[in-house]
Symmetry: C2
Subunit: 503 residues, 2 copies
């Protein structure tokens, strides 16, 4: 009997109809039944007469499957065995403790994300380099687009297109004129009802490569940075696209759904977005995480289908600092996906210093949210991490693993900000019992540079004190204190103090 491990993919491939337009003329679906679940999912046409149905089992044991295609006289059936997950396979990421995330097996997940909008549409060599960079930086989430991107520094051709057709002639594009071609069909000629399966197969390969590195694939399904008309499809074409995407990608445990990058500058209505959301909720039977990212006005994150806030800064100066307010307002995890990027390009969203990028990471994390990185360091080859991946050139990325390790040491799951002092970001464990029991407290001083700080939390506890240099990545043990005590600091920015009750 075929075997597959829990939270991996079981795939049924069948020959079938290929005449006419198989993407619109036929359907296929499969039902998978195991000891603790039964799920029916759509399959999809993969080209060359190949029809595919995929399933992610969430329980161990023996399953049966039954696949029916509208082109076939009788269903196909079979059995398979779901084995225990292998090391490193913790299942999909879920919301946990209201504001946080954990893998389905209960392992806490502290998101340290980055953005490379179309890294997967670059050359094989560059994709390999991106994966190596992600591994080295210890990112565990990456935002990227299914559709190609048209924008400044993104005037070249993607490796493939999602539809059959021919793109506009991009040789006429320049940094001066590219906005004239933004969000239009131009002279591209695509059939928005005929997918290019190779485009999607390739993305699947990339999703799996990320999965094997323990990285969540935060898939941006729609976006306005378009010159091929993909942002201008009809509602029927959009729905066809959504169903195809869902049928292909839902089975991967590391997938998150980002309905859009900057939904509010796409020519769609709120009704459109709600309709796409309904399609996800119906067709993704695994309940992967769902959010939607904005340019100016954030979506109403209180909508029940939204699992977490996916935030872009809307103020040049206050960004990560808004994490606490968003937590309180929406009572969902706050992922600060776009708080400007480390870089040196001309645009204000892409020219932070490494220090400021790292500061925004710590501000977000100590306020109980999850920060996102991007990098736009100019180079002659115009390969910018933010869009193309490749090699990281900045300074902040080297320091995220250190933050991740500290977050992983949070007792229980997740931090929450408390109002302890106006001039300090103070985080304690999310669960009140855990906070009191452990006394765990992470105090972050941001751009300020106190020479010392004074503490007086109670009269009796013995407090283990550590001084953390978030930039230089050192943790210095300062001993055990009781009552009123003073912690000397080096008078540099980007310092933190961690307290724990001594056992």
């Amino acid at each position: 009997m075929q075997t597959v491990e829990k939270w991996d993919v079981f795939e049924v491939v069948l020959p079938g109809a290929s005449a006419g337009n198989p993407f619109t003329d036929y359907t296929i679906h499969g039902t998978f039944t195991g000891p603790q679940e039964q799920k029916t999912v759509d399959g999809f046409y993969d080209g060359d007469g190949r029809w595919v149905v995929r399933f992610m089992p969430s329980f161990e044991g023996e399953y049966t499957w039954r696949v029916e295609g509208s082109f076939a006289d009788a269903p196909s059936e079979g059995r398979f065995l779901v084995t225990a997950p292998s090391e490193g396979n913790h299942g999909p990421v879920r919301v946990a403790n209201t504001y946080h995330f954990a893998y389905e097996d209960g392992t806490p997940y502290y998101s340290i994300g980055t953005t490379c909008y179309v890294w997967e549409l670059q050359s094989d060599e560059q994709i390999a380099q991106t994966l190596e960079s992600l591994r080295e930086a210890r990112f565990n989430k990456i935002r990227f687009c299914i559709l190609p991107k048209h924008y400044d520094y993104n005037l070249g051709e993607p490796r493939s297109y999602p539809y059959e057709g021919t793109p506009m002639d991009s040789s006429i594009l320049t940094p001066e004129n590219f906005l004239d071609y933004f969000g239009k069909v131009n002279d591209s000629r695509f059939d928005y009802t005929r997918f290019n399966p190779a485009h999607f197969r390739h993305i699947e390969k990339c999703i799996l490569a990320l999965r094997d590195l323990g990285i969540e694939a935060d898939l941006i399904v729609m976006h306005p940075y378009d010159r091929w008309g993909f942002s201008l499809m009809t509602p029927e074409q959009d729905d066809l696209y959504w169903r195809y995407v869902l049928a292909r990608f839902s089975c991967y445990r590391n997938v998150w759904w980002s309905l859009a990058n900057e939904y509010d500058i796409l020519p769609k209505t709120l009704q459109d977005w709600e309709r796409y959301a309904a399609i996800i909720c119906e067709k993704d039977v695994y309940g992967h995480l769902r959010s939607i990212h904005h340019c100016i006005h954030c979506y109403d994150y209180s909508r029940p289908w939204i699992t977490h806030c996916s935030v872009q800064r809307t103020d040049l100066y206050k960004t990560a600092e808004l994490t606490g307010e968003l937590r309180e307002r929406y009572r969902k995890p706050v992922v600060m996906d776009e708080i400007a990027y480390e870089g040196n390009i001309q645009h204000g969203w892409g020219n932070l210093t490494g220090e400021e990028m790292l500061r925004r990471f710590w501000e977000t994390a100590c306020r109980g949210g999850y920060p996102g990185h991007g990098e736009t360091m100019l180079k002659e080859d115009q390969v910018l991490w933010w869009s193309h991946g490749g090699r990281l050139r900045g300074e902040s990325w080297k320091r995220f693993g250190f933050l991740l390790d500290i977050l992983k040491e949070t007792p229980g799951l997740g931090l929450q900000p408390i109002s302890a002092h106006w001039d300090e970001v103070t985080a304690i464990p999310q669960q009140p019992g855990v906070a009191e029991e452990t006394g765990y407290r992470l105090c972050y001083y941001s751009f300020m540079r106190p020479s010392f700080r004074e503490f007086y939390l109670d009269d009796d506890s013995r407090w283990e004190v550590e001084v953390i240099d978030t930039w230089n990545m050192t943790i210095e043990k300062r001993g055990v204190f009781t009552g009123r005590f003073r912690v000397d600091l080096p008078g540099r920015p980007y310092m933190a103090i961690r307290l724990r009750k001594a056992r």
Copy 2:
């Protein structure tokens, strides 16, 4: 005939009553009549039977004076000649161009301020050092208090007290217990109806020393940082104090009135503040600048007696960035008197880096406001500039003169911010005609570090381009450009670009 220069002080000293309590039992006033003005002002008792009336003439020519004391049978009279102002004497500072300041002779005044709360109550040696530091840093305004200060790092005795009496025993004060004595009478014993004229005479000497350095004395008349009961006087005692202060100090051309430091944590009512304001408006016949500074909630700057906003940051992250909003809201000059201090003490209001302090200066100035400095660098002697003056130890102060020079090059008077780009602070001359004629434009990039910026303002003008490094204090001429052009930058924070139309 006695002579005095315009905007200097003409003083009449008479012997008079000294029995009982001269501060409350008698009054004195003088009327000064010249070719273009007649003014009646209160005089004051200066101790030892000395009664003084002072007057600042605003016009040249021959004046007569006539002084009457309630203790005297007949008035004294005389004449004096007002001569032209000497070099460096431009008169009092007035509001000009709605959002800006100019001396009465029309010379633009670009305020570059600092705060040393009780510098004048230190030793002679330290006062001399403060004056030398002010000169070297090219500050042209200083905020300080008439009353002594009690707070962290301010536990010692002032050189004198404003009233007759004995202070509490300060040897019992420690950094841990000083708040227990805050805003109380404690065991001080002062007669709040009997001034100590020596205290005020000394302050006058300091005001004059500032005047001679071209520095405005922004006098903080009340404040809550008290352990002697000066913040707890009765309304009658307060009014007596205000009248005495006004009779003594109004005559100095470089005086500004700050009703309070942090008015909102003093035990006074809004009616009290409005009453003090009415006393100033009545008794200061010269109309010196008037404002009031807050801790948490700013005063209603739209009150007609308030000439300009005197602002303290109320947000840890956004401070100077609010200048434009305040300008629009109040339509008055915005003086960002307290946007946190360069330093390394434990408190968040006093531990900015020099870079961040300078950034806040440029942010304020390019938004058409006026920034204020303070310094709280820890030292063994606990002499912190912010309160005691002395020697400047930080990095930002060295760079304010450079900013001042650039501000002085503004065509016309004063800058205004415009919404040119979301990721740039853009300043043009306040007068629309001047802006158009000169094309003057100052673009500031704050913590961002673009490698270049692109400009396209019109098709025909020839633009002189300069790149300004605000930290390293360099101005690099880049030549003349027309139409669409690109300005390369070094990819460091704290850069600015200045454009002017070539003649």
